[in-house]
Amino acid sequence: MSENDKNTEIHTAQTNTEEQANAPKESTDQQAAQQTIAEAGAMPASATTAQEAEAAGRVADPQPTAPPVSSTQADGGARTVEDTPRSERDRTPAEKADAVKVQSDAEAAKAAGVEMTKVTVDGVEVEVPKGTLVIEACFRAGADVPYFCYHPRLTSIGACRMCLVSVELEMFGARRESIFTCCTVPVAEGMAIKTRTPEVKKAQNGMLEFLLANHPLDCPICDRGGECPLQNMTVAYGPPTSRFIEEKRHFPKAYPISDYVVLDRERCIQCMRCTRFCEEISGDGQLALLNRGSSTEIGTFFGHDFTSNFSGNTIEICPVGALLSRTYRFAARPWEISSSDSICSKCGNGCNVALQTRLGELVRVNGRTNEDVNEEWTCDRGKFGNYYVNDESRLKHPLMRRADGALHPASWDEALAAVAERITRTKAEFGADAIAGIGSTRCTVEDNYLFGKMLRALVGTNNLDHRMLPHGFEPMQTTIAEIEHFKTIVSVGMKLDWDQPIVYLRVFKAYSKKGANWIKADVVDNTVTEALRAGGADAVLLLPHHLPQDQIDRAKKLCASTGAKLNVLLPDCNSWGAARAGILPDRLPGLTAFREGRAHLDSFWKTPLPTASGLDSDGIFDAVSAGRVQMLYIMGSDPATRFHDTEKARRALEAAPFVVVQELFLTETAKRADIVLPAASFAEKDGTFFNIEGREQKIKQAMPVKGDARPDWRIVADLMGRLGTPVPYFSARDIYREYNRSIPKAEAVAAR
């Protein structure tokens, strides 16, 4: 018998006798187990006697070292307060999210009919799917296990050694108990897991002392301080002082490894969460553990830039302050931040994010969990690209073009009166169709709906569009989450990880974890055709929205013939929302066709709508240049740089007698406007975004509006009041409710 086995058995014997004293109910089992150990008898005599003597001594000890709660547990009682060292409020949001994820995974597995295993955690019996890790069983039972390297979305490697618990199991004819890192051990039937025995406490305590041996303890200046798992765990489980008096290891502090991320190697505890993230989730593998022993450090390949578009996530999952954001650097402490749940505005994927502000400035964007969209990840575009809302160059006052031909600040009253007067005059002189509106894929549904209502009901024109490309709309045929189940994935003509980051993560998940075939192509060509043919109904084709129409048509035909699913991915945060709000020359809110929706809207908006289809954006710019359209009203859009034919757009903007622009910045379009109205950004207003799959998600005001700017819907509502119809909108919610009612019910459409 090896030395190790002996120790294990001795250990078991001790624990059992102790428990015997406290837990009469279990005694029969344990006595039997103990006998088995005694019978095994392969230990050298001297060792046995010494150990027996010690064990006996400990049993005779009048103050048993086992925690007093074990008697209640043995009686099947619930876990008590002393048993969990930390209350619920001491756990970080990340820890809570992990526990929720474990819970939902277990439920999904149960629903999928995975075989269940019964284990007890601190006397509480739980049923978990077979193959669950012990740490997950502990979470399910409500036990508190300290951990750093474990993450429910990454493979467990037991790198931090923190999650030590005692596991007791029937093995080789005896009940054996030993201390394991519970994130690497799968459950087995009848396992008894104990998370708070004195041995476990000692082991966890010792582990933290080791982890802190080289940790610099500069928490007061560390951005992670206050929300740091290492800090939390040390308070709850760690030693109050360290026995290490030696000099700690030193690396350069705050070493920038990219434009967004700084690395503090001194603080790193080598949990390898970031390297596993890069390898398994984002797939670029740009971070790795370099060197060995005490000089082990995280680094990129020969110090090259960490260029991954998902680098921000490593900051969020780092359990210490080793990887930190450069944009958030020293901007705030966690307790000073106010956080509001919102949706990222940088692309159409619709990541759920938390906008965190301090002193009226956006300081940080963190991911929120939404299993259907972004799981818990965000991309760097979203994480570091939303700071434009803080920009000092944002418009703060309405601007009007005065007699000298330059834009000058004006009051809201003056500007809105001028716009209203001009609308009335143009309508009287040239008719309603001399006014055209361009909506925005970056404004909310509410903004766009109200904009459409103003132009259709009050002005009386259908010259209304938001598209910058002359394309139709193809709804996605799958959801983002479904993409990971396809066996063949074909992506065409885009840098998927930059253009559609969250879709990319799903595709990579399918490719790396589920063995899907991932084909990348530049255009819809024969490779694509062959791949789709081979894939059949188990294939999905991902197209960017900016592909030429003939390619999209070809792809549509192809998918229809092979049974593959076609996803045309839209670019902007509310591309779908703008269309659904009815900012199209031939569609009403809810993408209803005129024929189906007009009767409903006539009565709902209490005004007869124009009958003929209006001009689309190309037509509008042509008509402006031809002099048929006298006034352009542009809300939150920048055709001068984003229209597919920018020359045409610029010509039209210069030719137009009167241009009104609602914008955040003085864009190329705004520079050519006669009146510029400052709008609130997505972080400063409430509203709704529809992401590329048509999912309706709410954004919430996170910070006060900059300067004199107003939310777009508020500007339009004010203008509607001046045009003669005071409108009772006090919040975006009012408008959203009205928007929903403006869509004719499906039955009503069918009946007509």
Binding site: E279, D284, G285, L287, A288, L289, L290, R292, F301
Partner: protein
């Protein structure tokens, strides 16, 4: 400037063919690269290995930096590796190292100016029964004394082409990895 020829790549592919997973061939592939890149692994070498095996470059660097047997800096024609672990240490490897340092005029881990010798302290060479052990290139020298070491060095100086560089030594035959 990539140095992998189609022949090198074929060799790596052959090694990779022995494993179910291509990345398992990383260690032998790094040996091949070390051979191609004059006995050490510069950035380009790791890059080529990573690209050829379809792995992330950082991971390759991580592995290469973990193992001390891969040279991360250029080495001389003859790489003298003196074991400093316990058996050799007790039998006087420290003296050997100092002697060598004096004789070659370089410190441990350094290369002589003429690019002839690189001196390194290494961990156990697995020759404890005949300690102290010194590995020069692909050759083991056991029961080494100062005098013997001097003779070996003299021999190497006079007949440099005889003893191969560790990385230019023959690759182990199939099945040895």
């Amino acid at each position: 400037m990539p140095r992998f020829t189609s022949e090198t790549k074929a060799r790596i592919d052959e090694i990779a063919g022995r494993y179910p997973d291509r990345r398992s061939a990383l260690l032998p592939a790094l040996w091949v690269a070390q051979e191609v890149y004059d006995g050490w692994l510069p950035e380009e070498a790791m890059q080529e290995v990573a690209d050829h095996l379809g792995m992330s470059r950082a991971e390759v660097e991580g592995v290469a930096s973990y193992y001390t047997m891969y040279n991360k800096e250029p080495v001389g024609r003859h790489h003298i590796e003196i074991c400093q672990n316990i058996s050799c240490m007790i039998l006087g490897s420290d003296d050997l190292i100092h002697h060598c340092e004096h004789r070659l005029g370089v410190g441990s881990g350094e290369t002589t100016d003429d690019g002839m010798f690189t001196l390194s302290r290494v961990e156990c060479l697995g020759a404890c029964s005949n300690a102290p052990a010194v590995q020069i290139g692909a050759t083991y020298h056991e029961n080494v004394t100062k005098e013997r070491l001097d003779t070996i060095i003299e021999q190497l100086k006079s007949a440099p082409s005889e003893v191969a560089h560790p990385a230019q030594a023959k690759m182990p035959e199939q099945g040895q990895f």
